[in-house]
Symmetry: C2
Subunit: 696 residues, 2 copies
């Protein structure tokens, strides 16, 4: 049965790639004729490629250093263990980084074509434009999920060892940590600077071609929201499979058989299959509502997944309780998405309230946005808690002798369930920056108000859907890392058994080492966010200075004299250099602190550290994503004519809110997902070392 | 020996009261002659009294309901247990609220006299003015600590049962929860509104008598920063003693003797004694530096305390290891205070950076302030973790058979150590609003620039010292609640033993109930802060509307026509009504959610809930207090002529930062202290009920 599961996973991955290729061709053959749009599209493409190339060079060096470290020390130091095992681990790690990088690269390539096509297509109505944007995004969706499933299957088949899959996952995570941070800093640097000088100081429209930062801003959408987000979800998806595999494998080992491992692959493959079908069904009428189109295909995917997994459970005789855990995860994910939507939807109270408060000045925009952001964490935290609890209680009785093991496996399958529709989520998410770009290109290409209005509508749908998918992504990461906590314990006990020393049966809060770890771990997401926000802040100040310089020194730019162009490249360069400079310290801080806590306090301190990190990471990720989304939509709401509309005092206050929200929702917030995953994976991989070498 | 400790505690408390009375008389006999100052001082006094009266009426009703609930259900339901025990518990609870209220009342009475005296004295130089402010604050310090020690001793002597002391502590906490929230909402409503309309819109100076909110603003300093803060520290102080007593008592019970209980009272009394001496030594030269004067008397108190407790340990033969834990707590408190100072001191990088960032607009003020605020949590979290760990490891070996019990007792004594100098801290803290008021009175009384400059200097010292003492207070609350976690477990096991059922030996993170509790508990401080900030936000918008109305409708007010006064009372009324309306929901939410989690998930869920609450509460309290303090000082830094000074773009951005920071640092941040204490106490008191009645 395991073979069936493995080979069908490979098959489904290949189908996903083929489908992605078909979508890519479809997007490519869409017509494009407008010279200005082509020209600007090319600038964006080149800028994105240049950044990605530089970023990957930096990351390749970093990954090289890490690979050497892994080869020497993991899973056990080379002088104590088996050299080939270490080599496999290092290879798995490198594969993880490479697969992730390739997925990001594919995403960028298609997104920077689809944006042009979507802008052009908007001239013939919303329908074609929507399809160009969505199918462009879906290429990324299929590529990411296909690559993650294929990678996990290949590594597992190659080594037969789930710990190596953790290595693969760590490769994906460490790349994602930096790609997300780097892309996030790039995109927000450009976005903030462009808005601040353009909209606030000079009063020129968004995406005005006179603005020197306008191309950098559009490049940022691609490298931050497409490549960065893709790396993030690649990472979450791989991590959820890795955690489930580790737990399933150790269960299969003691119980005999291959039931649980097969189930993991089978359910993962079905998730991808359901997403393929979901993407295929995405349609919009001539005067259709793009938000509804995006959401309904998500719900279709969900329903298909539940049906397919039920069928598989019946056919292969998997445990229904685990299927239940998986479905609970998925359903709770949907519920969390809906509650998140409440806080960022402009037809609901929070957005309206913040817009209204803006009339009293920016301080009230900030205060009310922060209030709602803080409030918004409650449903998600309870939701994550409930799904973990239900999954645990559902699966614990499957085999009373291995209650805890089955329970943790159940949680990991709940996370897998939540992430099952990740292909669909990435498609929706990547759709956002593509149509955002299309809007910019339409503006720069002078396609007129009607066309811009269409792209505006598509863009706004992207923002709304993004809120829902973000709630999903954060919650799924939360459940995944809870499962990884279980995986960590399982790794520790496996190592302890091999070493003939006593393992651990719990992480007791009353154990001072655990508590110490909790406190320190909880501080990490705060510090990590601080470093990223500060990076954006510093970098944006540099870029603002450059924009000021160009307006001052380039004669005729301000007035829009024909033939006078700003030096777009200078801004792209500043964003690139700054992002690359700021991206490493935060990531390195996290990894080094994890190692320090582990080597000082041992496995108990790390258990607490993980837990504190998860909890605080979820809190801050939810808070920042939601308040950021709320401010963005409050600004749009004011711009659409409420509370005095554009140019009013409420508008400039709302712009301040949006500027504060930018690094919240697109830099720090989503990077925290990756941050908690990285900490969890480092801990699991280092379990043996922390167990044997620690001061206390 | 226990008797010696108890009676000397009573004696020291009486000395503290006598000393406070002497200070009060000293303040009162300072000269005052200026009619305008007297008049305005009277307005402030009346406003503060009126608010306090109304607040206490609301709280009395609330406390009455709670007392009935306690009488019926605690420690065990009346139909199952012993009616006199329940009666004592209810009485202890009421005493806790009454003592806390009295301390607050005393503070307000003296502060609203000392402000006038300090304003007057400023005419003859900084020395007398400083002494008037400081000694006025010290009355509050002595009253609070004297009352808390006396209350705890009396309740313990009356009942001989530390659980009743928890009831007393809960009385203090529940009052503090609402007093802090209510006072915090009042003060920030007035402060924000006065600044927003006065400074930002109209460009009139701070404390200008034309501003209708100016008296409300000064009333706010008293009800928020004097009465509210006093209630907060009364609560922390009582809670630390209660936690230590519960743990000491159960150790003495199993080991025989009275050593540990005696030690708690002895060390608490010595803390008060050290504070009395510290207050006595506070002096300032004619051209002296008020910051140095305040800080140096804090260090003197610390040194005296260490010496006195060492002597007592030698004389009475207490365990040196516990003394060590106590000293570690105190030292770590000092270190945390110093690191906190770094983030809010205007001669250090953070304040300068935020001031500089303000030149690029308010979004950068907010982003950089949030970044530093987030960063600032790290040293304090590590510090709390280290002191808990060291205290644990120091005290665990005292008796290997009761390692955990001694370890938790050690942590509680570390908290007691950190709080030992609380008398000094309150004196410094209450000094702040008094001299802040004095500044306002000097401005309103037209005492001229030189005098205002002196009061400005005193005020600024108050702000700096406040940052240090806040770091102290939050960390001490953190350690206290960790000890209360131990007290909770001890209560559960005592109850379990009496009921003949099995108790608990740990709170395992891998137990899904514990984890569920962790997630939900961590969300509480976010929601609680959200509700308070929203309360300030809503209330300030009401008051801003009222100020606008007055300037519009009262002829000659804007122009400052002689004889035309604003309707100060209207603003005070709005602040009062609003604060009373907004104060209950947040507090009730916290208590009800704790009960819900306990009755649904039982003691394991509550253990996790407590832990999540502590961690997230500390994070948010530190973040909010520090970023708020940073913004306040960045604004002052700009106002003192940097980055363009008053009236510049940087200034208006810095004012936005300060406005956002106001409810952070004076409403939500400090209220979180109390919030985590309340949750801990409710849990401990309800231990038996949660153990016997819970769904899972």
């Amino acid at each position: 049965m395991k073979e069936i599961a493995l080979y069908s996973s490979i098959l489904v991955s290949i189908v996903a790639f083929a489908f992605a290729f078909w979508l890519f061709l479809w997007v490519k053959k869409q017509p494009s004729s407008n010279k200005t749009i082509e020209f600007n599209g090319e600038l964006i493409r080149k800028g994105a490629r240049a950044f990605l190339k530089k970023e990957y060079v930096v990351l390749a060096k970093f990954a090289g250093v890490f690979a050497v470290f892994i080869f020497v020390f993991l899973p056990i130091p080379i002088w104590k263990g088996n050299i080939s095992q270490n080599l496999l681990m290092a290879i798995a790690y490198i594969l993880g980084t490479v697969f992730s990088a390739i997925a990001g690269k594919i995403g960028i390539e298609v997104a920077t074509i689809a944006n042009v096509k979507a802008a052009e297509a908007a001239q013939s109505g919303i329908k074609r434009s929507f399809m160009a944007g969505f199918r462009g995004g879906a290429v990324m969706g299929m590529a990411v999920v296909g690559a993650s499933l294929l990678g996990v299957v290949l590594v597992f088949m190659l080594t037969g060892d789930p710990t190596t899959v953790l290595g693969f996952s760590f490769g994906a995570s460490s790349l994602a940590l930096f790609a997300k941070a780097g892309g996030g800093i790039f995109t927000k640097t450009a976005d903030i600077s462009a808005d601040l000088v353009g909209k606030v100081e000079m009063g020129i429209p968004e995406d005005d071609p006179r603005n020197p930062a306008v191309i950098a801003d559009n490049v940022g959408d691609n490298v931050g929201d497409v490549a960065g987000m893709g790396a993030d979800l690649f990472d979450s998806n791989v991590a959820s499979m890795a955690a489930a595999l580790v737990l399933a494998f150790s269960l299969d080992k003691v119980l005999g058989g291959v039931m649980n491992v097969s189930m993991v692959f089978c359910f993962a493959a079905l998730g991808l299959l359901a997403s393929i079908i979901g993407v295929m069904t995405a349609r919009i009428g001539k005067h259709g509502n793009p938000t509804r189109a995006l959401n309904s295909s998500t719900y279709v995917t969900t329903a298909i997944y539940i049906a397919l997994t039920a069928a598989a459970t019946a056919i292969f005789g998997f445990a229904w309780r685990i299927w239940g855990a998986c479905v609970v995860g998925l359903m709770v994910g949907v519920i969390i998405g809906i509650t998140t939507d409440y806080f960022t939807d402009d037809s609901k109270k929070p957005v309206k309230f913040v817009a209204k408060a803006s009339a009293s000045g920016p301080a009230f925009t900030i205060l009310s946005g922060i209030s709602y952001g803080l409030l918004s964490v409650l449903p998600a935290m309870i939701g994550i808690g409930v799904s973990a609890l239900v999954a645990y209680k559902l699966c614990e009785p499957i085999n009373p002798a291995f209650g805890l093991e089955y329970a943790m496996f159940g949680i990991s399958m709940a996370a897998l369930g939540m992430l099952s529709i990740v292909g669909m989520i990435i498609s929706n998410d990547a759709y956002g920056p593509i149509v955002d770009n299309a809007r910019g290109l339409a503006e720069m290409g002078g396609l007129g108000e009607d066309v811009i209005q269409i792209t505006d509508e598509l863009d706004s749908a992207g923002n709304t859907v993004k809120a829902v998918t973000k709630g999903f992504a954060i919650s799924a990461a939360g459940l995944t890392v809870i499962a990884l906590l279980g995986a960590f314990m399982s790794e520790v006990n496996t190592a302890a058994a091999e070493l003939g020393i006593s393992g651990i049966s719990n992480f007791d809060i009353m154990n001072p080492m655990v508590f110490f770890g909790l406190l320190v771990g909880a501080a990490v997401p705060a510090v990590f966010s601080s470093m990223l926000i500060m990076g954006v802040d510093r970098n944006a100040q540099r870029m603002v200075a450059e924009i000021h310089r160009q307006f001052r020194e380039i004669v005729g730019l301000k007035e829009g004299k024909p033939g006078v162009h700003p030096e777009y490249n200078k801004c792209i360069e500043i964003a690139t250099t700054g992002a690359l400079k700021e991206l490493l310290p935060a990531g390195i801080f996290v990894i080094v602190l994890t190692l320090a806590v582990g080597f000082i306090g041992g496995v108990n301190a790390i258990g607490g550290f993980l837990c504190g990190n998860i909890i605080s990471g979820l809190l801050f990720a939810l808070f920042m994503s939601n308040s950021g989304g709320l401010w963005d939509n409050a600004k749009k709401y004011v711009e659409s004519g409420h509370e005095g509309g554009k140019g009013s005092a409420a508008h400039s206050a709302a712009v301040v809110g949006d500027t504060v929200g930018d690094p919240f929702k697109d830099t720090a917030g989503p990077s925290l997902n990756t941050q908690i995953t990285v900490v969890s994976l480092v801990s699991s991989l280092m379990a043996t070392l922390f167990l044997t070498i620690s001061i206390f």
